[in-house]
């Protein structure tokens, strides 16, 4: 076999002469269509490799391509299929891209439907309460049981909440009073004093802000909590600017970071509700997590970050892909925090299939169903201990 593409390649990919460069470029195009990131640099490497190995032997062409164009075990299977299709003449099968649900814009969805028993919010049925116990109820009550007024108050409190700033150790060291001896500066100081070491100079590691990524589930089952979680995201983005990323997940991944950037909380919320296409749709968390990791996470957004997933883990369809993606996420992220409002209910057990698939890869599992629980989440994000 020589480097002549089979009949499956389209007419534009088929060179008139068995020109190696043209055939390789055509093959790379087929690979890219199948989802292998065979960029120009890698193609160049393949041409260089074929220059050394010769392009006459199919096995050598196979290995040269596989070694230079692939970047992970996930690519190998696709590569094999594309290779057989392009050089072997069999039909090219490209995995179908996931179907995209129609975008639904519903700014009105910000006004949440309340559960029928949620009108009063006075758990226990007491009628007269002092202002103090009123505040305590608001702090600990399940958000979905709050009345409209209390909910509005809670939203104001949440938007005003000051979250701490998580940090990570940097590779740089800076002069400091404590820490390890800094031989370089000690020596230079000694040089200035005629070779006499008067005082040991010290240095310690500096700190850099650590990125926080929030993935908020706004699907139907999470609707009562979505408003509060978005305001939580707003508060976090404001107190940790430039290092917070917020995404909504539901049936489609949407980046909300920019929409949340406004100064005025209500204006920010209006921008967010316009940006989210799938308020209260069904959940396909595994697929969306994959999209997040492919498009943002792997390029650096999730690397070394604290990633917070706020969802109840009700996965429509098979939960296995969610487990696979959570494993990827846990390899990239510094810490994975899962916030499930249902966890705040008495007797909660992680029974949802998605939740069970995800839990092995979760570092911290918190509730987030009330103001107090969200404050606890903020503490967990900066790496503090839970109260």
């Amino acid at each position: 076999m020589t480097l002549r593409p089979g009949p499956a390649a389209d007419a534009a990919n088929r060179p008139d002469a068995p020109d190696v460069v043209a055939a390789v470029a055509g093959f790379a195009r087929v690979l890219r269509a199948a989802g292998v990131a065979a960029d120009a640099g890698r193609v160049q490497a393949l041409v260089a490799a074929l220059d050394r190995l010769g392009a006459g032997d199919a096995r050598r062409v196979y290995w040269a391509g596989r070694l230079t164009l692939c970047a992970g075990p996930g690519d190998l299977d696709r590569y094999d299929r594309c290779f057989a299709a392009y050089f072997g003449g069999r039909a090219l099968r490209v995995p179908p891209s996931p179907p995209r649900p129609a975008a639904r814009r519903a700014a009105a969805a910000l006004a949440f439907a309340l559960p029928p028993d949620g009108a009063g919010g006075r758990a226990g049925g007491a009628t007269a309460r002092s202002a103090v116990s009123e505040a305590e109820v608001l702090r600990t009550a399940d958000i979905r049981r709050l009345g409209p007024e209390q909910r509005a108050q809670l939203y104001r409190l949440l938007a005003a909440m000051a979250a701490g700033r998580p940090t990570r150790p940097s590779r740089r060291r800076a002069p400091s009073r404590r820490g390890a001896v800094d031989p370089g500066r000690t020596l230079r100081a000694a040089l200035r004093n005629g070779g006499e070491t008067i005082r040991l100079r010290r240095r310690s590691r500096t700190e850099r802000p650590r990125r926080v990524v929030l993935l908020l589930d706004v699907s139907g089952s999470m609707a009562p909590y979505a408003g509060a979680l978005l305001r939580f995201g707003y508060a976090l983005a404001r107190s940790h600017p430039g290092h917070t990323e917020v995404f909504s997940v539901g049936t489609r991944l949407t980046r909300l970071t920019r929409a949340l950037g406004g100064r005025e909380p209500d204006a920010a919320m209006a921008a967010v509700s316009a940006a989210i296409p799938d308020w209260s749709g069904g959940t396909r968390l595994g697929g969306e997590l994959k999209e997040f990791l492919d498009r943002y996470g792997r390029r650096g957004m999730a690397r070394g970050a604290t990633v917070v997933v706020c969802s109840d883990g009700w996965e429509r369809g098979d939960a296995a892909p969610l487990g696979v993606q959570m494993a990827r996420l846990s390899r990239l992220a510094h810490r994975v925090v899962w916030c499930n409002p249902h966890r705040g209910q008495a007797g909660y057990r992680p029974l949802a299939a998605g939740m069970r698939a995800a839990l092995p890869y979760v570092d911290t599992f918190v509730a987030g169903h009330s103001l107090a629980a969200l404050q606890e989440l903020a503490t967990v994000i900066i790496g503090g201990r839970r109260a």
């Binding site: 050394r52 230079t68 190998l76 000694a190 792997r298």
Partner: protein
């Protein structure tokens, strides 16, 4: 292009040379190593622990007749441990000696202090300076790069892209003969794409039965043929959750098969029996949970391994 010796002139030649040193490389791995040498590109080897990623670097150094320089990565590794460090105690001594000798010119003294002889070379710098013969480049093994922090990827990329290191006080140190670089990863962390793009990527799978048997026979020629065959068969089953009826936390690699065979051989076993297998289980399974799973199925496992063709 490097000057070729007969051993490194083709992938097949390289495979034969590796085999002569006790390392059985398949077609893909031999091609990868050949291209790594020819194109002066780092090899990026991924695969489960114990499939022979580190051993390849050692075998390649032996084939090339050059030095193997190893950089073991760990969390928090930084330039002072990977590249170079100034030898401060010696600098101070020099300073004192110069002082005692009555040196007067501080500028000259400072220039003397930042001389190459006061620079302690760590593995990366050592690898750049070690090569003299283009036909025998040193082999630089950057082991378990996934254990280092992700900032370290960017740092490696800088060094590996033009095989030079700049020391602010000295200037740029460039490799006369670029080393053959072998990076290994167990995939506990996704290594940065930009670094992978510089490399030839190869996924090392667990070997099939025939190859595993050949490796055991090659490395442990003293062990009985039947023992080697049964251990190889059992190891294949341990890696297959369907055949085992449960998944191990850490399926054994070739390294574990070799350890197991050697342990059994030292106990005088000529074949794999349930009693000796139970006693030497620690060589092949390293988790308590795995031990429990295996103990429950040992006789079944051994029986299947013994009777299979």
């Amino acid at each position: 292009m490097r000057e070729r010796s007969a051993e490194t002139a083709s992938p097949e030649g390289l495979a034969r040379a590796l085999e002569a040193r006790g390392y059985l490389a398949d077609e893909g791995l031999a091609t990868a190593a050949f291209l790594g040498l020819e194109m002066a590109r780092p090899l990026f080897l991924e695969g489960d622990a114990g499939v022979g990623k580190t051993a390849l670097a050692a075998a390649l150094a032996e084939v090339l007749g050059s030095e193997l320089i190893r950089l073991q990565c760990y969390e928090g590794i930084d330039a002072a441990q990977a590249l170079y460090d100034w030898d401060y105690p010696r600098q101070l001594l020099h300073l004192r000696a110069a002082e005692a000798g009555g040196a007067a010119d501080p500028a000259r003294l400072e220039a003397e202090l930042y001389d190459r002889r006061f620079l302690t070379a760590r593995p990366l710098l050592r690898a750049l300076e070690a090569g003299t013969d283009p036909a025998a480049p040193p082999v630089l093994l950057i082991d378990e790069v996934d254990r280092a922090d992700d900032e370290f990827d960017a740092f490696l990329l800088e060094v590996l892209s033009d095989f030079s290191i700049s020391v602010p006080e000295l200037g740029t140190i460039r490799a006369a003969v670029p080393p053959l670089v072998v990076l290994t990863s167990n995939r506990t962390r996704e290594v940065h794409d930009a670094l992978k793009r510089r490399c030839l990527y190869h996924w090392l799978p667990h070997p099939g039965f025939e190859r595993e048997l050949a490796i055991i026979r090659r490395r442990l020629p003293g062990a009985a043929e039947r023992l080697a065959r049964e251990v190889a068969r059992a190891a294949q089953r341990l890696r297959d959750p369907d055949a085992l009826g449960g998944e191990l936390i850490k399926p054994p690699g070739v390294a574990e098969s070799l350890d197991w065979t050697e342990a059994l051989h030292r106990l005088g076993a000529r074949h794999l029996d349930a009693d000796r297998a139970a006693r030497t289980l620690g060589a092949v399974a390293k988790y308590r949970e795995d031990h429990e799973l295996l103990r429950a199925r040992l006789s079944e496992l051994i029986g299947a391994a013994g009777t299979a063709p």
